[in-house]
């Protein structure tokens, strides 16, 4: 079972991502996925230690801790610095996205995206991230689907 952390302040965008990634079509090619939802940066920081995650998807424009600050935090952390990271943000914030990529995000998907676009991007990131990520953290039982 793979797990994906989705950091996004909109509950319906989270539900959308969940519906796409937890759908049987996605599971058929990539094994089952569990989506873990965080509604803000602090939520994400609370959830990060409960990882590992196979993929982190984050918005940029969020109250308090913005997505960029979260990306920097994730890239500095001991356990998640190699986790594939996808920015979902609207086209408007070009400068914000550039900064996100500079901080170490792996990909960017402009809102709105179709389920297919999300599926493909996540597939790509999950496959790419696979080798580096399959070592279980110390004390953690071997996971895998």
């Amino acid at each position: 079972m793979r797990s994906v952390l989705v950091v996004e302040d909109s509950v319906s965008v989270r539900a959308f991502v969940r519906a796409v990634l937890e759908a049987p079509e996605f599971a058929a090619t990539h094994g089952a996925v569990t989506v873990v939802e965080a509604s803000c940066g602090f939520d994400a920081m609370r959830l990060l230690p409960r990882g590992p995650y196979d993929l982190i998807v984050t918005d940029i424009n969020m109250a308090d801790i913005n997505g960029l600050e979260l990306i920097r935090f994730i890239r500095k952390s001991a356990h998640h610095h190699t986790t594939p990271l996808l920015i979902i943000s609207s086209l408007r914030g070009e400068q914000d996205v550039d900064r996100g990529i500079a901080l170490g995000a792996n990909a960017y998907l402009a809102k709105p995206f179709t389920p297919e676009q999300l599926r493909q991007t996540c597939e790509r990131l999950l496959v790419a991230g696979k080798p580096a990520l399959r070592e279980p953290a110390p004390g953690e039982p071997g996971r895998g689907s």
Binding site: D9, S10, V11, S12, V13, A15, F16, R18, A19, V20, L21, E22, A23, P24, E25, A27, A32, G41, F42, M45, R46, P49, I60, N61, A63, D64, I65, N66, L68, E69, L70, I71, R72, F73, K76, S77, S90, R92, G93, Q95, D96, R99, A102, L103, K111, P112, F113, T114, P115, E116
Partner: protein, 758 residues
Amino acid sequence: MAEGGGGRDSGGDKARDEFFSEAQELVDGLGRDLLALDKALKHGRTDAELVNDVFRGVHTLKGLSALFGVTRMAGLSHELEDVLDDLRLGRLELTAGLLDLLFRAVGLYSRVLSAEKGDGEEPSSEIEELLAALGQTSQRPTGGAGGAVAQYDLDPALFGVLTEYEEHRLRSNIQQGMSLFRIKVRFALATIDSALDELKASARPHGEIITYLPTGSGADVDTIELEILMAGRGTAEVLRGAITGPNVVIEEVRRRAAATSALPAAARASGAPAVTPAPEAPASTVASGHMPAEPPPGVVATPPARGSGEARVPDATSSGDAMAVAAPAHPTRGGTAARGAAGDMSLRSVSQTVRVDIRKLDLLMTIVGELAIVKTGITRLSERARSRAADPSKLAMELQRLNRDFDRHLAQMQGGILEVRMVPLGQVFDKLARVVRQISRELGKEVNLVVTGAETEIDKLIVEELSDPLMHMIRNAIDHAIEIRADRLRVGKPPIGTIALNAFQKGNHVVIEVEDDGAGMDPRVIAAAAVRRAIITAEEAADLSPREIFALVFMPGFTTRDVATDMSGRGVGLDVVKTNIAKLGGVVDIASEVGIGTKITITLPITLAIINVLLVEIAGRLFAVPLASVDEAILLDGSQVRAVDSREVLTVRGASLPICRLDRLFGLPSTRRAREYVVIAQVATRRLGFVVDEIVGQRDIVIKALGPSLKGVRGFVGATELGDQRVALVLDVAALVEEVLSPGEARFLPWQPAARRA
């Protein structure tokens, strides 16, 4: 994977439901924020944080609607976002005219959502119009004073994590001569939300928080260290006094000595719009002792600063263009704006969702736990009952105890679930405030809305059904009742009219009053109009009390005007309002005084879900009378019944009470009995006695709708199953009282046709 199972390429049904409820919430939030902005603007202020909230709301809406394929909404949001982005980044000035456009957008959003749910048509042409109007306001980005930031001793890496907006706020604050502070603080992750709220509250009076950076240092995973960048006008000392705590370190971000001269020049060059409201007292204690030519601190009115990091020559035309937008767009009557109001016909939300305080759910969980204990008791008992040694009397005693516990917890459960359905009336009042603003601007009347009791809670379903009737009443009040300024001054009233919206709980009911200080109604004028429209005859009119006459305004077809205005009187009359309220089990009362004003009082049950009823028997059939409207039940003393004007009236303790024989009303075979009872019902101030054969007892029931084929039958709110395979119809007491006591005709005798269908 069950949850995601619905995930076809639409993104899933559950996700779609979430979309509707989130979108509705965002739209409601926008309405609230705009009202707050409107209020601030009237005092010459603009709240940057609010503008940013509005931007974020629209931004999120745009993302959502595009994701879920609601293209109209996405298109509108896109254009709005451009305008709002200009606003929040200081390239455009907020004006009343611009606010008008934003308010219109909120109305259109609601209608697009309804249309998307299959309720009404999409307001395509209005959207096109609004888009065109918005298109004229957009500003092209202008250059800003980029050098100002460089003089602060800030970590260059900081700019890597600021969003464009945060960067703009940082520049804007610096240009206003604010000092910068670095606040280091450590929070426990578990309690960070409340701790942060506290910190924000103490920081707020001293300036603006630009961003929160998690430093990522600190070994343990349960705490988090934040570096907060804040701009303010005080000193580090003052901040240290305001923001306290064991893990708080506050220091001022120093300025580098050299570059100071760049700042005022840049600020001046970028040219604050001349029309900006009077500045507040400028910051007098800027730490460096350096006093720039202060641009007015009204935030959106600050010099246009483009957060690009490069110093470009400011575009001198930018503020001029902003002023062109600022020119008060006083809409003409019958123009596009008036259409906007007429088009915004419904305030009902498309959301079926109730957001619930987690504590309420915790309580329910606890009760479920208690019920589980009772269940264990029953299992144990049934096992014991199977063994021969069991003592029947002991078993019975224990069973009785369990039964009592079960009853108690069930009642708690019911109460708890009702609580969950409750939402504050403020939800609908907020929307009404929008309507008041819009209509009063269109009609050129000045109206203040004064709301009290917005926190009064009522069933979510009732709130939803209430918004349209209330909106209609408020429209009526502004259009018909509130006089124009000159007329008000002439009669010695304050120039600005007041509409008061009061809500309070009264027993099992919620009372909502809509009160205006307008012209009031003259009973003679109303009666004459009703006679002219053949609602009553002149003879009948002569017999009516003023109160009965006022009630005529709720009759179908009633109007005092021969020409309908844009606002009200376009076919939807107050009769619809009354019918809608009656459907909710409520009643409407009206009182008015010429020259003083009019007060409409709505009395509603708190909930529609579970009600306590009195079961009665009529001609061998069971009926339920909601106990909330029952005063008492007495034995009928035939000697005290008289006939007055073809109505039967009973004298009870010296007072006369009109009575109604339900068997006759419902067309049931009359079974004269030796003993009959009278159930005395009271709705608002009106009392009526229902004559029944037997009083069966009290019950808690769940009302079920009668179904589409019986929808037209009046007099019943629904039916209920009694648990022993029997079914009882639940009387619609408000409608019956209305029907029987309504002025003009004695209608309770010949009510046969409807009754037969029942």
